[in-house]
């Protein structure tokens, strides 16, 4: 019998909230999480704004001793995983430990630790480097630390697919359960790249908004006056579970994850090609993988970065896949409020897609005052809207030409 995969737990830390409930309320209220950077001096940088995580108490999730040894992306991962596993009510132990896995993606890993320890190397020499530098920096240590905490001894991995990393992770986890390699997966994406190095690097590519005087209006997906993306920190982690496994233990089921598509542009290291056929194909592959009629889809959480190329080409790709039905779709970019969490985006935005199915509300694209030429879908501008959605997509595309798409649908027996 075919194995089905459902979502039974969710956790997030991000610029608009430190729990799923807080986040959902903020997104539906159209609240921006973007502000001036507070954690370091931005004086020399062209961009001085970002979506920082705010009011987050790391000591609720890690011990004081461990805090200075873990990069923030790992601390966020542990916090998200704690919330998700608790939410799922999943006990992991001798009876199932080898059937529970951990796949958590990150685009960059411990960038702030690299920055800090490299300064120590330059200033004080190699003998002053912390012995915890390397394990704090490696992107797969988010998954590693989660597996250690929960004793999850099944499959483990970490896709490092830039801004698609969280989606790649969830897609991989979905397949691992479907194909019988695991019964439950702790999976998603996290990032903590808001640093002088991160901002300077993306600034050098002219990829970031410099609307420093109006932070809350800086992330403007699909808008004529957009000027690049805004970086954000945090991520989201979900518990995926094989349906029979979830039902046997009486777990609450949020929704079903039923499709995953992944394609390469094979075009350019950072830019999508006109029409973004790779993105269109990834949506097509994802829908085909679960035999879903495109007309059944009601919502797409867009990649929607607010870069000049993405928004127009993503719109073209959606139109190619959905044809006439694209006019009926609600398409929103929650990055307008959270900023772009890079590898964390796929984790957070999967949670948003699931909440849309559960709550029957579509969060808006804020700051969309004047849609750009070529941006002519229903992007749910400014205000959230009630909508009974049967199936939803989450799109994420990353540098290196990675396109990754997940399909979720309402859970029915």
């Amino acid at each position: 019998m075919e194995r089905r995969v459902v979502i039974t737990g969710m956790g997030t830390v991000n610029p608009v909230g430190n729990t799923v409930d807080e986040t959902w309320a903020a997104l539906c209220a159209g609240k921006s999480g973007i502000g001036p950077v507070t954690k370091f001096d931005t004086a020399p940088l062209a961009t001085k704004i970002a979506g920082e995580v705010k009011g987050f108490d790391p000591l609720r999730h890690v011990e004081k001793k461990d805090l200075r040894r873990l990069d923030d992306f790992i601390v966020y991962a542990l916090a998200c995983a704690d919330m998700a596993v608790q939410d799922a009510g999943l006990a992991i132990g001798g009876h199932n430990a080898e059937r529970v896995g951990t796949v958590v993606g990150s685009g960059i890993g411990g960038l702030r630790t690299i920055e800090k320890e490299h300064s120590i190397l330059e200033r004080s020499g190699p003998r002053r480097l912390s012995p915890f530098t390397i394990p704090a920096v490696l992107p797969n240590l988010a998954a590693g630390q989660i597996s250690i905490r929960y004793g999850a001894r099944g499959p483990i991995s970490c896709p490092v697919t830039a801004c698609a990393a969280g989606t790649s992770a969830i897609g991989m986890s979905f397949r691992l359960i479907k194909d019988g390699y695991a019964d439950a997966m702790i999976t998603g994406g996290v990032e903590a790249a808001v640093s002088a190095f991160g901002i300077a690097g993306f600034n050098a590519m002219r990829a970031l908004s410099t609307r420093n005087d109006e932070p809350e209006k800086a992330s403007r997906p699909f808008d004529r006056n957009r000027d690049g993306f805004v970086m954000g920190d945090g991520g989201g982690i979900l518990v995926l579970e094989e349906l029979a496994h979830a039902r046997r233990r009486g777990a609450r089921i949020y929704a079903e994850i039923c499709g995953y598509g992944c394609t390469a542009d094979a075009y350019h290291m950072a830019a999508p090609p006109p029409g973004h056929e790779g993105a269109a194909r990834s949506m097509e592959v994802a829908l085909k993988s679960c035999g879903m009629d495109p007309a059944a889809v009601g919502y797409i959480n867009a990649h929607g970065t607010a870069t000049s190329l993405n928004d127009v080409y993503e719109t073209q790709a959606i139109k190619r896949v959905f044809g006439e039905h694209s006019r009926n779709l609600a398409v929103s970019s929650t990055k307008s409020m959270t900023g772009h969490l890079l590898g964390g985006a796929g984790g957070l935005e999967a949670i948003v897609a699931v909440k849309v199915l559960c709550e029957g509300v579509v969060p808006p694209t804020i700051n969309l005052d004047e849609p750009d030429e070529g941006c002519d879908l229903d992007y749910v501008a400014h205000r959230a809207r009630e909508a009974a959605v049967e199936a939803a997509l989450s799109n994420t595309f990353g540098f290196g030409g990675v396109n990754a798409v997940l399909v979720f649908r309402k859970y029915r027996d």
Partner: protein
Amino acid sequence: MSIEEKVIEIIVEQLDVTREECVPEASFIEDLGADSLDLVELIMAMEENFGIEISDEELQKIRTIQDAVNYIKRKKGLAG
């Protein structure tokens, strides 16, 4: 503050243990729960605090709090 007191203060901070656990014969690894990386970090903190340098060979011989105290005293020329 004596060298003993300073050493214990560093250990309490670095290894997140209580002052009571820090008896002279306590072994960093067996009694205070340190792993090899904790030990490297602990030694780095002592180097910094006492302005000394501890080689990797010497590090191998420091197993207990008393070992550390004796070593630092010797290095600072304070005792046998």
